[in-house]
């Protein structure tokens, strides 16, 4: 009895040891990615307070936060296919966090626009919405992202069930609206928005192929 209990104790220790590096890796990856995603924000704050954002700081902040928002959004979309490619579930465990980072940067981006760029001037904001298609596209993207961020809690996932999944497919729509936002605002140089467009198409294509199979 004793020896057999000892034996099983031994084998479970071996088992734990074998799994140990994997556990370690999985427990640090989230804080690591969190740190990586927040660092640009800290850099922006630092640049802001040291006055090193250049001659047009509001524009610089708008561009930087917009770029961060779309990149986080695309990263969060890439995590699902990554699970399939790596045959490992850790990527999807980062999905909520990256999605919320995308929303965070988009929120800062839009706040800078409203508070600093337009100084909450309703007439100017309305003019922009009505006359500048890229502002409308950005607004569409942001409006889609709001309910997604609000329903990202575990409780909401559980409560909405299947509907949660269909609601959160809206993120592709938001991604498309952001790409349109960028294409329409770019002056001359379309490389960057087209790179984002290409990435979005690949991700969407992957989803479709999986659906058809």
């Amino acid at each position: 009895m004793r020896s057999s209990a000892g034996g099983s104790g031994m084998s479970s220790t071996v088992e734990a040891l074998r799994r140990w590096p994997v556990l370690r890796w999985q427990s640090v990856i989230k804080p690591l990615v969190f740190t990586a995603a927040i660092i640009p924000f800290l850099f922006l704050l630092q640049a802001l307070f040291s006055g090193s954002l250049g001659p047009n700081p509001i524009d610089e902040l708008t561009d930087q936060t917009g770029t961060l928002a779309i990149r986080m959004l695309l990263i969060s979309l890439a995590l699902t296919p990554l699970r399939g490619l790596l045959k490992n579930t850790w990527p999807v465990k980062l999905r909520r966090m990256m999605g919320l980072f995308a929303f965070f940067y988009a929120f800062v981006h839009v706040s800078i626009y409203l508070l600093l760029d337009q100084q909450l001037d309703p007439a100017a904001i309305w003019e922009d919405l009505a006359e500048r298609p890229y502002i409308m596209a950005g607004t569409v993207a942001f409006v889609i992202l709001i309910p997604l961020a609000m329903t990202s809690t575990r409780g909401m996932v559980r409560r909405l069930g299947r509907r949660w999944a269909s609601l959160h497919r809206g993120v592709y729509l938001a991604g498309a609206a952001v790409v349109v936002h960028y294409v329409w605002l770019a002056k001359g140089d379309l490389i960057e928005p087209f790179v984002y467009l290409a990435i979005l198409m690949v991700l969407l294509g992957y989803r479709f192929v999986r659906l058809l199979r």
Binding site: G51, L53, N56, I58, D128, Y134, W184, G188
Partner: protein, 321 residues
């Protein structure tokens, strides 16, 4: 340090740039008065090479607060050097400006390839402080050094078929922006003859009493203060007198947005930027105050309507934008 200066209403950039600039101006005026050129030692200002000649102050100048030299020389649109605002200063060294010559051709009596020296030599250099309004809804106040384009035009004697003047920027294959076809090179601009002859229209070879930095369009550029900035073509290598309205780069790229005339017009809506207001970039970027500066109303013809409105009498400027 910065904070007490702020409380005292002093901007650090003002101290470094403007004080030296004022000193320089006084010296230049003194040297001009004494008829001495290039003999007085100038206070050293970061990098730029001082213009060694008398500079006459122009009555066309605005007395608005100057943008700092740093602002004017680090925030540029010069797509041959890259599309980011910081690219032109970053890659400024790649632009080769020596030797430089300007081809003047077309409908004129004295066409030819003129060296930069030939172009500049006969002209008295003025300082003109102009507002510069970019189509991207920001503006600066810049002390240009140069002379009226009209004075050069008269030298080469255009004939009656010369209805327009076309300009081209240099194309150097190893410039980072030229390697990519963001625009169709060479960069091209144009003016109607009467616009080109207008006394406000100038050729600049300096700013702040110094040689034009590469990122600002060295060694010779156009400045047309009542038009959006992209009309003021940089690093000019060709000036042609032509009968038909010439093609212009931004118009080729997006005709509905950028017309041939491109006069600053707060009433003409633009799909990317509101042209009704502008952000004045003066250079106060230290600390948070720059973030809460409000925009100002954009003036019709960038505030030069009184001088230039007659050029466009009877024209529908919504159509001919």
């Amino acid at each position: 340090m910065r904070d007490w200066m702020k409380m005292a209403g002093i901007r650090s950039s003002e101290i470094t740039d403007e004080k030296l600039f004022r000193q320089r101006r006084q010296l230049l005026q003194a040297s001009a008065a004494a008829g001495v050129t290039g003999l007085i030692a100038m206070p050293a200002m970061a990098e730029g090479k001082a213009l060694n000649q008398p500079i006459v102050k122009s009555s066309f100048s605005t007395d608005e607060e100057l943008s700092t030299k740093e602002t004017v020389t680090t925030y540029n649109n010069f797509y041959e050097l890259g599309t980011d605002k910081g690219d032109p200063v970053r890659y400024a060294d790649r632009l080769q400006t020596e030797p430089w010559s300007v081809t003047i051709d077309g409908e004129c009596a004295k066409p030819g390839v003129y060296t930069l020296e030939d172009v500049l030599k006969p002209h008295a250099i003025e300082e003109r402080i102009y507002r510069m309004r970019c189509v991207e809804a920001w503006s600066m106040v810049i002390p240009w050094n140069g002379f009226s384009l009209a004075d050069l035009i008269k030298r080469v004697e255009p004939n009656s078929r010369a209805k327009y003047v076309a300009f081209e920027t240099v194309v150097q294959d190893d410039l980072p922006g030229v390697k990519r076809n963001v625009l169709e090179w060479p960069y091209r601009e144009g003016l109607r003859m009467d616009e080109a002859l207008h006394p406000l229209t100038m050729l600049a070879m300096g700013i702040y009493g110094e040689e034009l930095p590469n990122q600002n369009g060295a060694p010779l550029r156009l400045v047309v203060p009542w038009k959006y900035g992209y009309k003021s073509i940089k690093s000019i290598v060709r000036i042609s007198f032509v009968e038909e309205q010439p093609v212009t780069s931004w118009n080729m790229s997006a005709p509905q947005e950028y017309g041939f005339y491109s006069n600053v017009n707060p009433e003409r809506s633009h799909p990317r930027w509101s042209q009704a207001r502008e952000r004045r970039l003066s250079g106060d970027t230290g600390g948070l105050s720059a973030l809460f500066a409000s925009k100002s109303d954009t003036l019709y013809m960038n505030g030069y309507a009184e001088q230039v409105a007659e050029l466009y009498q009877g024209m529908d400027l919504q159509k001919f934008h």
